[in-house]
Symmetry: D5
Subunit: 187 residues, 10 copies
């Protein structure tokens, strides 16, 4: 029912990345962490501010071994022009993925049928292609990348410490919990 803990569906798409057109697919997501960020449409209002926000945290994502993917239902041609004409978007060093076939927006459950556009959705995906967190907003409400970074770090921590869980508002370096029968009913 939920996408959490399911595999990313197979897909193929064209992206604009560092001055080139490249193919992105479910296969290219394997082996490292991914953060997939859907936006409604190129050239619009909130989207550049969100891309800029992501760009400013890109070093952190890279340090955490994660790639960032921006996705809209526009073409990669539009993404090139967007990158060239928007100062905010021009800061993006990660792939801007075109999804004119609506393959990705449907697979992640963020497609708006009556508009042909995406909702603002963010997904953290592990190196096996399994979705660990999701977050979707009405398009008038933008996200905060700081929180995405926190989720990515928590997801990475519990992936490498399978007997621990991250408590509320956990941030990197804070104490975690190790579930045991003794704790049941005691917290």
């Amino acid at each position: 029912m939920s996408l959490i803990n399911t595999q990313v569906q197979p897909f193929k798409a064209q992206a604009f990345h560092n001055g080139k057109f490249v193919e992105v697919s479910d296969a290219s997501m394997k082996g490292k962490w991914s953060v997939v960020i859907f936006m409604p449409a190129a050239f619009t209002f909130n989207c550049p501010t969100e891309i800029e926000d992501a760009a400013e945290h890109y070093a952190e994502f890279q340090k955490a071994g994660a790639e960032v993917y921006i996705v809209t239902t526009d073409t990669h041609f539009s993404h090139k022009v967007w990158h060239e004409t928007s100062p905010a978007v021009g800061k993006a060093k990660f792939p801007l993925v075109g999804d004119p076939t609506h393959q990705l927006t449907r697979a992640f459950g963020v497609h708006i049928e009556e508009a042909g556009l995406a909702l603002r959705g963010t997904f953290v995906i592990d190196p096996e292609g399994v979705i660990k967190t999701m977050e979707v907003h009405d398009n008038a409400i933008a996200r905060d990348v700081t929180e995405t970074v926190r989720k990515l770090k928590a997801a990475q921590y519990v992936a490498s410490h399978p007997n621990e869980v991250c408590p509320a508002k956990w941030k990197e370096g804070e104490a975690t919990l190790a579930p045991s029968i003794d704790l049941v009913g005691k917290i």
Copy 2:
């Protein structure tokens, strides 16, 4: 496809709230903002820390005119005992809703079939019963209520300012954007 901008489905459930058993339904959510927070199970590990986190922000939620609902697939009987025995949960002054019929976990798409429990999901719902934001995690990764407050405030702002949108990482009091054709391609 997405739950965003859809109506909460009709439901009826028993909750433990301020020392009483009360009925909670879709009808009781109408007329004010709601924050629905699913947790896996009473008496377990992260859940009390998350309830405590919510309790510590409850004044803020109340000031914003929003009610908080904690939901698990346990009964309201268990919720009473949990409230009495857990110092963290005992701080909760909002309803602890029992969902042993799985009506709510299925309606919000957070049911785990093989466990009979909920995923960690948070939903901000407007006074018309329309879902505006959703956030779902693998159960080992807890949430941060600060971010939920930020989303609630943004949702409330755009609801009362229909011609504006909140940019990335917007916080109450910051500038918003007023979409217009002149901005297209210019940000």
Copy 3:
């Protein structure tokens, strides 16, 4: 149509038993007699008195080579807390099985759809996993474990004496009947 003389369906569940969480399944029921006792919900009214009644006859059940399983739709986490907080339930030395997936309540036909809880049902099962007696009550009416012991003994007697049947209100040690054509129409 009836569950009598059918196999217990395959299942897997978590139970609280003697201070530990253990997995219980149809496989773990094979090789000895089982008495499965469904209760509506942890922390409620009649249930502790019934568990206490079972606990007081547990020595008898054990002498007869039978295990007792208490089942509710609560989690094993709730069962641990119930065992710790209820003096009556605390006497139980047999597994308290959690059925939050409703697998067992559905398989034994005691699920109440509109409540997500179990009816008061008791089942005597032989070492091959075949159900020999069943008894189900409206939840306001509790059972009497003495009668369950009598049924278990009768079921065991006829299992080991295939050419005999136990007459009305038979108790261990009393005379049985050996069906033969000569008795037809003569009793």
Copy 4:
């Protein structure tokens, strides 16, 4: 799923009762308590002992305002002969209902398809025709009417005291429980 708390299905059947053939139906069960006792077949082994057991408690049933119905898949013709030829069955002053159409055995879920006979099933039914308790055995294991009387009394008690429940092994005259939130988690 369960027959508990469902209405008896409409039926019509011929019975032998006090030297006459009479029609029995769901309608004739309304307005008083009923105890329906299925037996495998006339002229067989355990059945006369069980009818005798019922006959010996008939005064108690009558005092409690309940009628007893014995049902087999035989005809009412066979029941007359059985009554005349069996000393045990001859004691029955209640209707011996013939069910050669298998209408009743199927409606109460006690039909054995491969034999065309009934399982040993006992049902306590309230004056509205609602089934309150059921008990079904493999045919080699007979019942104890004492326990049926106890269940009838408990069912009658909670019917007339809607805010009380009968605890384990409750017998007429003993204390009952009045469920309240204060008892939750305290017994």
Copy 5:
């Protein structure tokens, strides 16, 4: 459409025969002629007179190498008692077959759904299990075994004289007809 010249369907049933309970099946009908006689119910009105009629002709049937089977939807238990208590039925030296599963009454098309009983049907079956004659009456109208004997003899005659046919009201020893083209249009 008709049962004439079709195979008896596979069946298994319990019968009372010469003081014993025996299994009767389609297999036990193979290798000799069979006369299957359905009756509505044991202990009733016409049935004993018809069984007596059959019993008085049993020597003839045996001489013709045919077995007689009486079938009702009662159990073999009832048949034993009937045999013991009815002077008329007590003369029967052939199997009294119980059909409480309604397998035989349905297979021979004589089942009365609303009563669960058989119509008065008589079937002559050859040693290959093929039905050669059938006769079915409303239950108020009894049969005459003399006519059944006549049919059996005619069926046996044409079985052993494949080029002849028995004319109207043929009785054993009378002339038959040998069909040939010369007779067409000449009789």
Copy 6:
């Protein structure tokens, strides 16, 4: 399942009767008793002997207020010629019904698909059009009209004496049985 006690299905057919072609239908059967006798084919072997047998008892049928109908799948044209050319058939004063559409052979369940002809079937039908007795033979075995007369008389007797039944081999004038509970198990 059985045709006994069902209504004759609506039909229309042409018959040769007393030198004329007349229409026969289910309507023309209402108001008096009918004896419907199917034969395989005009101009063949047994059929004339059976028609002659019927003709010789026709006075008896008429006295009993019954009409006789001979039916084959031939046309009424063939029946005229048969009547003219066969001395035996020429004795028939009752309708010879043509059924080339196979309407009647199918309605009475006596149609032989692979031959397009009828089985030898005899049916006694009451004045309401309800079938009371049926008899069907393999075509090599002819019937005896004496027995048909006996059945007709018995059917008429019980129709006018609804509280009596005709015992085995009953013939007009003999004693009948009046079913009463006192007789049950006593004959």
Copy 7:
């Protein structure tokens, strides 16, 4: 859609031919030309005149290597009597085929459902069993065998001269046409 140039469907039927009953089938039609003539019913009005007409041309059919088959839905028994009693039909030296199963009338599309009889249909069939001409009339309108002979001859001519076609009203011996592109648009 049309039967022209389709294979005769497989069939088996009994015919009266030269004083014998013989089996006729699709196989017996292979290897020579066939003329199949359907008639409504034996013993009727036009049919004998049509059979006589066919009989008078039989020498011509035989010379052309063709067999004639008369078919009605009567039996072969009726056909024998018809042949014996009708002076016109008695002239027939070709098979009179009985079709009481309606196999042939349905296969050639000449069956009248509401009468169970054939329409007047004539079919010329080649030695491979392929239908080359068909002709069907309302039953009040008889055929002219002269025209059937003309069609047979034309069919045989074009079969043996595959590059020629017979023009309007062609009779044996007259000129034919050899289709060639030069004739297109020129005749």
Copy 8:
């Protein structure tokens, strides 16, 4: 099954008739006799000879009050050119109907699917639009209009003399038969 005695199906088509394009429909066929003659294709081999044959008998058809319709799957445009370029077709004073939609060839069952052309079919239709005779040939075999005239006359005769039938090879002015029961089996 057969088209004989069925109504012509509704249709609309364009025809070339006496130098004009006219619409022809089932409605235009009502009120007078029609002779519908299908031909494979304009400009081909036999077709002009058949049209010429029809043209030479057109006075006879008109005297009998019948219209002649030539039909092919060509367009009415092709029919105009055919009429102008073929001396034989140019003699036609009756409508040449175009059926490029295949409506008529399918309705009369003469369509050749693999060629898109018609078989040589002739139909005589009465003033109520009911088909009385049909005749269909393999396309290499042409028809003889003399026979069509004979059929039309016979159809008209029996239409106006409902108690008579035309015997074999009947021609206008010859004796007919009046069916009566006295003739059955006598011709």
Copy 9:
């Protein structure tokens, strides 16, 4: 099957037109001629040259009372940017319609499923919304607007002169043909 002479399906879309965002629908096409021109994607190779070609003929289209619609599966946001950044596209004074929902590309049969883009298709539509001409190319082959103008003029001419048709390569002002039977077969 073809879209020619069918109605444009209902649709609603956003377009960039003369510096504004406007809604375009099937309704806005009614009352004047429309030329709908699909292009694969904004910012690509041939598309600007084709838009420029259309822009250069826009005066002619306007003089003919026709509106031009450019359609791609991009958003109207992209179209604004395209118009601002491309000198060729900047010449367009007609609506640039966004079709991100793929409603129009599917309705006009030009959608490429595997790319989410349009084929190069041009449609001339009359003031009733009926499609009169269509033209679709593989995307590597561009169109020539001169030919589109010629088609529009021809469509307009025959719309206002219903008895005339435009011959091959007709251009405005040239002679047309008035179809009449006299011309059939004469051109």
Copy 10:
């Protein structure tokens, strides 16, 4: 959805070509370029002018290695006559294909169901049988072969220069475009 870039469906048809009847099929189209031109009907108004237009450009088509096919739903017989009688059509040296089965008009989506005729459709097909351009008109609007030649040339150019595209109104010899990322957003 579109026919563009799909394979021509398998077909077989007869054509008139250079005084002969020849078979044309999908196989005969392989290995060279084809131009398929559908016309409504032989002998009509615009069609000859369009064939003449094609004939006048035939040398160009041949030089480009392309064959031209004219298709109507008429027969090849009509096409021969058309060629002989129309001065315009008589100029055609390419095959005139008959499609009376409607196989081709349906496969290319140009069939008019209610008329049985083709729409004016032109298709350019490459040597692999793949459709590269299509153009369909209402029948009152004729085409211009000059534009078809232009499309054929463009299709051939891009087939042999896979990295180039032909811009708007490209004519043989003019400059083409080589798509590259550098051009995106720059034209």
